[in-house]
């Protein structure tokens, strides 16, 4: 069977499964809709969190991105996993003990202020929309590349599916579909990686394969008999140097920038509302801890495989294209040329493809080959000559990754509107049933807006992803942390801290991304910290402001201090009276 047929079959089966789950797990109360009635087993919550977390970008683009960055790419790997250690120890269990439904609600209650609740809900909506825009586009892109339909048709199919299970099932429906989506996406990611690792190194674990020696079979695939017996990474480093790049295992970026980006991504992760609310769905505090552990384990399966894929794919790609006559180019190259992800321009007129440093369409460089980062995952199975069903899996996996993340984000938006805005501020005495309708309506409207972003992608989407992490890092992370670990932090402190954090990060990023993009390089950054890493500084400013302002303003009322105390202990104990 052809790749196209396999893709249709595997995607069809997975979609049918998602729809079945959505009908079986539909929400009846607002408790169901916002927090799946707090009945999700930790291992399931771990899978759902994993699917929630791993987006279209993680699945399709990350390995390719790393293959161009070499060791510097590790800020994505560490940054997007390290936050879970913080979640498990600093946030998850205590938010579960609090037990309500949304992050703006926690912020409003802890800092006894509707103003903070509204500020938080605006932040949550902004961060989630920034993120979701890319997901719907991702759905369309996967559809168009694997199934020969237009991007817009793909976006609309994706919208219809998410609309169906998000409005029907709420958190409950989303959680159980995400469990299925996790299984689909992780299989789709690991199976090709295992095959490729076996081919090149004979090691079934790609994580170890990337540090192993190349077998005779692998050397034959690379058309380089001399590679046999050499370490994979040494061969890649050699290729990189021959072509004028720096060695793969060496870093280029200043270490201070890598440090700040990694920190910003870690604390940004721990401050993202769609991840935080997952901890409301488990039965007990200890389940919140262990579900963070499961989540990280499931995420690390993909994140430790990604650098291996990038090593294998980059080696394989260069070896099978560089210095090869175009007429003799492998069939996958010509197939993917149609999508514009790879391309060739014969600058020196010799009919042979040459890879070198620089842009392929810049006549001044010797590089003749265009390599889009996404090709490393999308075409990898074909490049490694794997069976067609493996290639078909990639499509189903990419869709699962994009859809699951989109659904989790849409739920945050819908809950912010129905629970934090309508129920809490605008119409406090509405019934549970009415609130449920607002929640479903909110989810529906949010899906449509996200779909529009997918069909008419605003050019700035890629630019503003730094915003999502920077804002989460500078606003939610410090306020939630102090909210749990310091009884004396008060609403004035939180207000000033949040405002300073948000304004600082927003101005720094806007300046370098929109106002003066030509200055966006390390000579102009403050202390060499790029806009991607500035969230760390924003968070630090937020902490300092909170501490100082809280010192000089009245401390929080006794019942708030008791609430904070009660978050720290499991069980249904009455809050201990404060000891002065």
């Amino acid at each position: 069977m052809s790749i196209l047929t396999w893709t249709w079959i595997l995607t069809g089966i997975s979609f049918a499964l998602y729809i079945y789950i959505a009908i079986a797990a539909r929400a009846k109360t607002t408790g169901d809709f916002y927090a799946a009635e707090q009945s999700v087993p930790p291992i399931m919550n771990g899978m759902a969190t994993g699917a929630d977390w791993m987006s279209a970008a993680s699945f399709i683009s990350m390995a390719g991105l790393i293959s161009f960055l070499g060791r510097d790419g590790s800020f994505y790997l560490m940054g997007w996993t390290g936050g879970y250690v913080l979640l498990a120890m600093l946030f998850g269990p205590y938010l579960r003990k609090y037990g309500k439904f949304t992050i703006p609600q926690f912020m409003g209650d802890r800092y006894y202020s509707d103003g903070i609740r509204v500020l938080s809900l605006m932040c949550a909506i902004f961060v989630s929309f920034t993120y979701v825009a890319g997901q719907m586009r991702g759905v369309g892109v996967v559809f168009s590349r694997f199934m020969d339909v237009s991007i817009n048709t793909g976006v609309i199919v994706g919208m219809a599916l998410v609309f169906f299970y998000a409005t029907l099932g709420g958190m409950k429906g989303i959680t159980y579909t995400q469990v299925a989506q996790y299984c689909v996406l992780i299989c789709a990611y690991l199976i090709p990686a295992i095959f490729i690792s076996m081919q090149f190194t004979g090691n079934p674990f790609p994580q170890l394969g990337m540090g192993s020696t190349i077998t005779a079979e692998g050397a034959a695939l690379l058309n380089d008999p001399s590679a046999q017996g050499k370490y994979m990474l040494d061969v890649l480093n050699g290729i990189q140097k021959d072509l004028g790049f720096s060695a793969y295992t060496e870093g280029q970026r200043p270490r201070i920038d890598v440090f700040f980006i990694t920190m910003s991504l870690m604390i940004g992760t721990a401050g993202l509302p769609h991840i935080l609310i997952r901890f409301f769905t488990v039965p007990k505090m200890r389940d919140a801890r262990s579900s963070a552990g499961y989540a990280l384990l499931f995420i690390a399966l993909l994140y430790t495989t990604a650098p291996a894929i990038s090593v294998f794919a980059r080696t394989n790609f260069i070896k099978s294209i560089h210095n090869v006559e175009y007429t003799a180019a492998p069939s996958w190259f010509k197939n993917w040329e149609k999508t514009g992800l790879v391309g060739w321009k014969d600058k020196n007129g010799d009919g042979v493809m040459q890879i070198a440093k620089g842009k392929w369409d810049d006549p001044k460089t010797a590089n003749e080959v265009k390599i889009d980062q996404d090709i490393m995952v999308l075409a990898n199975p074909e490049i490694a000559k794997l069976p067609n069903w493996v290639v078909g899996l990639i499509g189903a996996g990419g869709l699962a990754a994009a859809l699951s993340t989109a659904a989790g984000l849409l739920l945050v938006i819908s809950a912010a509107v129905s629970h934090d805005l309508m129920k809490a501020i605008v119409k406090p005495n509405m019934s549970d049933k009415e609130e449920l309708w607002w929640a479903r309506g909110g989810a529906g409207v949010a899906v449509c807006i996200a779909g529009l972003f997918g069909i008419y992608p605003p050019g700035f989407v890629a630019q503003v992803v730094a915003f999502a992490f920077g804002l989460a890092a500078a606003s939610f992370f410090p306020c939630i942390l102090m909210g749990i670990f310091s009884k004396k932090t008060n609403k004035e402190g939180a207000m000033v801290g949040m405002a300073v954090g948000i304004i600082f990060v927003a101005s720094y990023i806007s300046y370098f991304k929109f106002v003066a993009p030509e200055l966006n390089n390390k000579d102009h950054w403050w202390f060499g910290i790029s806009p991607e890493g500035i969230g760390t500084v924003g968070a630090a400013l937020n902490f300092i402001c909170m501490y100082v302002v809280s010192k000089f303003t009245p401390e929080p009322p006794q019942e708030i201090q008791d609430l904070v105390g009660s978050l720290r202990y499991p069980g249904k104990l009455t809050p201990p009276p404060s000891v002065h």
């Binding site: 540090g211 552990g293 384990l297 690390a300």
Partner: protein
Amino acid sequence: MSVHATKELEAYWKENLVIIAVHLAIWFFVSFFCGIMIVDQLDAYTIGGFPVGFWFANQGSMVTFVILITTYVTMMNRLDKKYDVHEG
């Protein structure tokens, strides 16, 4: 709730904070210290085909993160029992 129970709970919270501090120190050590700050120095050594610093940045830190959460969960479950605050 008696004064004694309050003291017990404060001791529980203190022990929790110590456990968190130790785990965060290891978290910082494997990622920020080994994976970023002294990565070039560590790269002078290799394990199998991996330069050591590169391995921490690409694999080791993530593996350690998983182990860290596992030990935190285990230690906290034990602490919950010790102070008799465990649920169900």
